[in-house]
């Protein structure tokens, strides 16, 4: 079930260099959205919508939150919207993350603009979550406090060391691995990062869910533009990121 409508932006914040957080009033969407689902936003003057993950939601108040970075003309156009403006979106879309009822230790590994979709997982697991969040540099660091407020143990890394640990998330993740017996891992970020974490998860036989990105046409499963390759029933096949994902079990993805 999804909707296509214009919804009011009730809060707009610039939270890092070229990165914005919008809180949007959309009770019908907030009522059914799941962690890891996304919204598909119309950017004025553009033929294709832009997919952005739901970062957080508040069912009671009918709110969702998205966090996005300006990457090109479409996201720049969306960033021009102001508090009080209406945002045209199709939402909620895709298959989100699934949760383990009896998990004791979960790892959330996020890179850059892959961090936002993990926030609502942190909310679900509270103190059971260890979040390792990697960014380019200090001015791109986002949501660290939000993760902490939901109870997660947060580790920040930056490529240039300008905030937290220097380097990518892998060493910090290995640290977490060595300290805890992880029940499940959630990953979102650049493909090389997702691939590396998935491999480790596979070696250690830890369940791992990854959220993938691909260029989209319709966003609702109709055009088969947004595929990734998976292995199912011993057959390799292209499945749709927008409808069959964006969240996949890392074991089935062929990177």
């Amino acid at each position: 079930m999804y909707f296509c409508d214009k919804y009011r932006i009730v809060e707009k914040k610039a939270i890092a260099s070229d990165i914005y957080s919008y809180i949007i009033k959309c009770p019908e969407v907030a009522g059914i959205v799941q962690s890891g689902q996304f919204v598909n936003i119309s950017a004025s003057g553009h033929t294709l919508r832009r997919p952005i993950s739901v970062c957080d939601f508040d069912r009671e108040n009918g709110l969702i939150r998205i966090v996005f970075e300006i990457r090109g003309e479409g996201t720049r156009e969306i960033s021009r919207l102001r508090e009080g403006d209406y945002i045209d979106m199709i939402a909620p879309l895709g298959r989100g993350f699934s949760f383990l009822d009896d998990a004791k230790h979960v790892a959330l590994i996020g890179g850059g603009i892959g961090v936002p979709p993990l926030l609502s997982i942190a909310k679900h697991y509270g103190e059971k979550a260890q979040a390792v969040l990697g960014f380019k540099s200090f001015d791109k660091v986002i949501l660290a406090n939000d993760f902490a407020e939901y109870g997660a143990d947060v580790t920040i890394c930056t490529d240039d060391g300008s905030s937290g640990f220097k380097g990518n998330v892998l060493p910090c993740f290995e640290n977490v691995l060595n300290n805890e017996k992880l029940d499940i891992i959630y990953v979102c970020g650049p493909l090389p990062m997702i691939r590396a974490i998935s491999e480790i998860a596979e070696q250690k036989a830890i369940p791992c869910q990854v959220s993938l990105e691909e260029r989209m046409g319709c966003g609702v499963g109709a055009c088969i533009a947004c595929v990734c390759k998976v292995k199912r029933r011993d057959k390799e096949m292209f499945v749709r990121v927008c409808k069959d994902g964006p969240v996949f079990n890392s074991k089935e993805v062929i990177f």
Binding site: Y2, F3, L48, G74, E214, R215, V220, C223, C226
Partner: protein, 303 residues
Amino acid sequence: MADLRVNIAGVEFKNPVIAASGTYGFGECYTDLYPLSKLGGISCKGSTIEPKDGNPPSRIAETPSGILNSIGLQNPGIKAFINYYLPTLLKSDTAVIANVAGATLDDYAKACELLDQTDVHMIELNISCPNVKQGGAAWGISCDGAAAVTRAVRKATKKPLMVKLTPNVTDISEIAKAVEAEGADCVSVINTLLGMKIDINTRRPILHNNVGGLSGPAVFPVALRMVWQVARAVKIPVVGMGGISKAEDAIEMFLAGASALQMGTAIFTDPYSPLKVIDGIEEFMDNNGIRNISEMVGQVKPW
């Protein structure tokens, strides 16, 4: 009150707006917003005799007022279409068009033979997919090829037959005449224009297929010109498409000679756009005292 019904090759459409092949799946993906029955019809995702994987991603890119796609005809095969999707579609109170692609004459003929046994309302022959070496484009770019496919398929089925033409040719009206001569009941004009986009940082084409088909508002002027040319060259009905996004575009298409329309890319921008176009056509007709779509078809007055 305007009557929006159109009859193309014996098939009745409750209104002239048909979802374009490849942009509406098998009709299942937009029902959260409105029932399929709102549309005049649906042209289903192109099917081939065997299931097809399609091209590796990325398969889509945005361009000024348009998009490029190189899906490469990923589909579950004609049998899955017939057994799994078609029954539901036939219950959805809209005209159902099967879209068929293939590599060989035999592929086309076999797929259409299978469809002949079903209750599908119409068959659209895609001899113009630019995204697979064997997607029919080779057939569609010559009169002989187009004639050959039409002939082969005409023998295989009595279903109303629509042949979809490619714009990537020197003279589209010659191709239209060739398929008309072989018994096509109508033609759909146009498929996508072959285009390209390159990522200047990686130096790689954005589409993994290197090139892809251009669609969307950018191509509308070319599509309109071709509909006009084809409509003047053949007697069978022309179904116009290519960049239609608003009611005004639809009226232009009628005036140029289209008896019905297909819309694709505009649905990605706004899933409600086909309904807005239907409403807009009705409003235009009411405002101008036009009772029937046919009163507009081909009524452009060239200078």
